[in-house]
Assembly symmetry: C2
Homo-oligomer: 168 residues x 2
DNA sequence: GCTGAAATCTACGTTAG
DNA sequence: CTAACGTAGATTTCAGC
């Protein structure tokens, strides 16, 4: 899925009180916590808690609930970051290239960047031959691509979203 | 949380059949789908489905269930990628620096890299002044840091894990 | 908007194929 | 390993504060 556009959204500014933030933090940590337990932990009744969770979902604060999958279990044990520069005359093709890349099963994340590089692609692959093949097929073969640089990922950590640590 | 180490794990190799993969794909899309619906969609009985989901959880295929939170709703509307190079004589401090960075609320992801750069940090911040302050305080002030480079993120896309598209 | 109780539905252990 | 049954407990609606 995609993050929401970062400008000129929010018809009504989203206001979250301490209970909302506590709910968010707990659901981020465990999306399947029973509503009754969640309610007790944040200090409201189950029905109130349910109404708040729904409101958060409807206002787009909670984007979705997802299961984190261990990619190694699926046979993809290697990760790499590939930075890509598009030829200056081909910048109008960036949306199309992005759409094509996102259909490739190896692509885990895609960043559009400002600065000297245009894309950063986070891929999950079987081995180094696989990443080489990915670059050749999906990037080097495209005449709009000016330059690529591949870095292997040794470790990858993800953290709780900003602004939620203090309520845990 | 952290991805599992990428080498020498799996006492027993994890084998997943088509039903397991279908379950994984649906739980990745919606971690809160009722077991009864999940069972119907993948074509097994609810009790069988529940047993499979548990097994996937116990074998570490499903790492956890999490709610994706819209960072913009929390007031963090700007994203940046910061690449960091550590001084060659200070490489032994990398673990310590990593641990310190991960306690900062702005840090969403942290990559340990091979190649010319050592770290890549994905941060979520309020504005450009905030990211500048982050770099000054957490990186430039550290004598082990040789070089940093900050790129603003215009868009960020995340995709379904590799190997699951075909079963959807 | 919050609370508490009633009805519906789900999860999950047990039994059996 | 898989399917069916039964119970305990959760979710969700609704009336009242």
């Amino acid at each position: 899925m995609t993050d929401l556009p970062q400008i000129s959204e929010q018809p009504e500014p989203i206001v979250l009180d301490a209970i909302d933030r506590a709910i968010i933090a707990r659901l981020h940590d465990n999306a399947r916590i029973p509503n009754i337990d969640l309610a007790r932990e944040v200090g409201v009744s189950p029905s109130t808690c349910l109404a708040r969770v729904r409101s958060l979902r409807e206002r787009g604060v909670i984007i979705r609930y997802t299961a984190e999958i261990n990619p190694a279990a699926l046979g993809y044990t290697l990760q790499a970051l590939i930075s890509v520069r598009i030829r200056p005359g081909a910048r109008h093709l960036m949306e199309q290239i992005s759409d094509e890349l996102r259909t490739e099963p190896e692509v885990a994340q895609l960043f559009f960047l400002g600065g000297s590089e245009d894309f950063l692609i986070h891929v999950r692959v079987r081995d180094s031959a696989h990443v080489r093949q990915f670059v050749l097929k999906n990037l080097s073969a495209n005449p709009a691509v000016a330059l690529t640089e591949t870095n292997l990922v040794f470790e990858h950590h993800t953290a709780l979203s900003a602004g939620l640590r203090t309520v845990l």
